[in-house]
Amino acid sequence: MARVELNINLNRVEGDLEIALALEDGVVAEARTIGTLYRGFEQIMVGRTPRDATVITPRVCGICGTAHLYSAVLALEHVWQTPVPANATRIRNLCLIAEGIQNDLRQTFLFFTPDFCNPRYMDQSWFEGMVQAFEPFRGSVYRETLSATRRVVEIVAHFGGQWPHSSYMLPGGVTTPADLRRIIACRAVLDEVQRWYEQRIVGAPLDDWLALQSADAYFAWLETPPHAHSALGLLSRVARALELHRLAAGTPHMISYGAWCDPEEWAAPHEARLLPGGFYDGESNKVEPLDQQLINEHVRHSWFRSYDGGRHPWTGETVPQFQPNSDRYTWAKAPRYADRVVQTGPLAELLIAGDALIASLHAAEGGNAWLRQFARVRRIAIELTYARRMLDELTLHINDPHFLSPSKTQETDGEGYGLVMAARGALGHWLRIRDGAIEKYQIVTPTAWNASPRDSNGKPGHWEQSLVGVAVRDSDDPIEIGHIIRSHDPCLVCTVHMLETGKRVRYAA
């Protein structure tokens, strides 16, 4: 058997990611996902005044700053039991959605679809069509995506003054109320994005697209001209021609914290969500309520000071310890839920929330790379719907409060957590305040779940599992790996807990 070891550095992902593969006769036998850069935000927070969390943690990421801000403020409100008025939650949701829409469009059409223009596919009948649509800077959809997505985050700028790295959420609400001018401006942005999405991305009005509820209905639709020639239609036809719907299932288990807090629930920990969350057990095919106490992180194969087993974020630690000549291989920890390896992201979010189309496709074909990307594009329609709903509710309640000032006596010591659905999946901040300062701060990002290394039991993480069995035709141009990893929408920026040593990463098998 010919064994080849391959280290792949991926571009068109956020942050610093390497994949180490062992190929046997051209098929992936083992995979290790390697976070090559450590950032130490958790250390940065220790000893600081608690409100610093809403200023510093949005800087974890230039793409999901709103998600981190929302998570941080929910964690503080949890410790302090601070009530949050409905309008504040509506504004928070609206801004998080705007960030999500931009990410989902850019990730799909600037990162994922360019892979179909790889010269290896030159002889395919569909190649020319894909190039015309998706080639970087030249393809029509690529160019339109650049201009269409520039405006979406203006919604965040209306309420936060800037994007990225805004800090307009604070315990008790948000800094800026809705007014007619802002609402009209936000509606204009949404209208423009929605029109483009309907015409170019799905080829149908939003309502018709959302009304599709079964795999059969979708595949029939895929044959009809408006959708077949839309960006999603092209993506689906070609991805499925390349059999991406048969590959890369990864772990069958999924988690979602539930998207978008329900504005009617004013009290922490805001378990009521507009899209319900939960744990999907891939073996029993059932969704169970999520219990965050069942979350723990392992460091057995990671470059951190060792401890046994997994630890919940409140009892965990993040002490970097680079050990290059060992079987530890990454700056990412291994989060687990009830000892299960789980995945998170738009597929998990929609399946657990009960989107009928996604459930039907998942039942028919299982989890796979195409379905993950498809779910991302599907989610945009749901995001647009809820953004509009938030604006409608803000309009109806335009003079209601956007901020309830917490009293000083409420700002006590204690533990809290904030759980949100970021663009890439389940994001959580856990903190403990003692003597008025942050004693502990732990962040578990969606990519931490997905890009997880092996745990104390040696079980590989979701991406690692998703790559085993994939045939790589040309190890100098592993395009198959590119398709799969980009379908995961990886972001190592906030996930890896350092110092770029300039060394080549090695591991002992």
Binding site: G62, S147, T149, V493
Partner: protein, 151 residues
Amino acid sequence: MRHIICFGNPLHGDDGFGPAVYQRLALLPLPEDLRLVEAGTPGLAALALFEGCDDVIIVDALMPGGVPGQLTRPPLETVEAETSLPGHGVGVGYLLQALAIQPKSLPRIQIIAVETSAVALFRPGLSEPVARAVEEAVSLLSKYFQLNSHD
């Protein structure tokens, strides 16, 4: 309206050229028709900095090559796509390509760049030749800070 946009990451050796020029220019009084920005490494969000102006001057360090410390004004077309350091792959070259394809009319764009000798990741501080080039760039650009400029 003119925008001077300084790109670069001061943590990575000579990539800190842009921020160093910014620090010096920021000490000068700012005329009404001039906006000075330290953009850092902003990715696509930087596209917004090219709006609302007629002229843009980009200040940045080039990837290693040429004569270290030499200032140059590369034509836009020669700036390659993937010119950013480890990070997100959206450098100035990518931004220029993204700008080139947008339907709106663009400001005039010029680049003042310094040639560098090596990439020094996570080692803040400029090499001597590039530090000297900061002075030269500041001299060149200070004419835009004349309060009675008619440009």
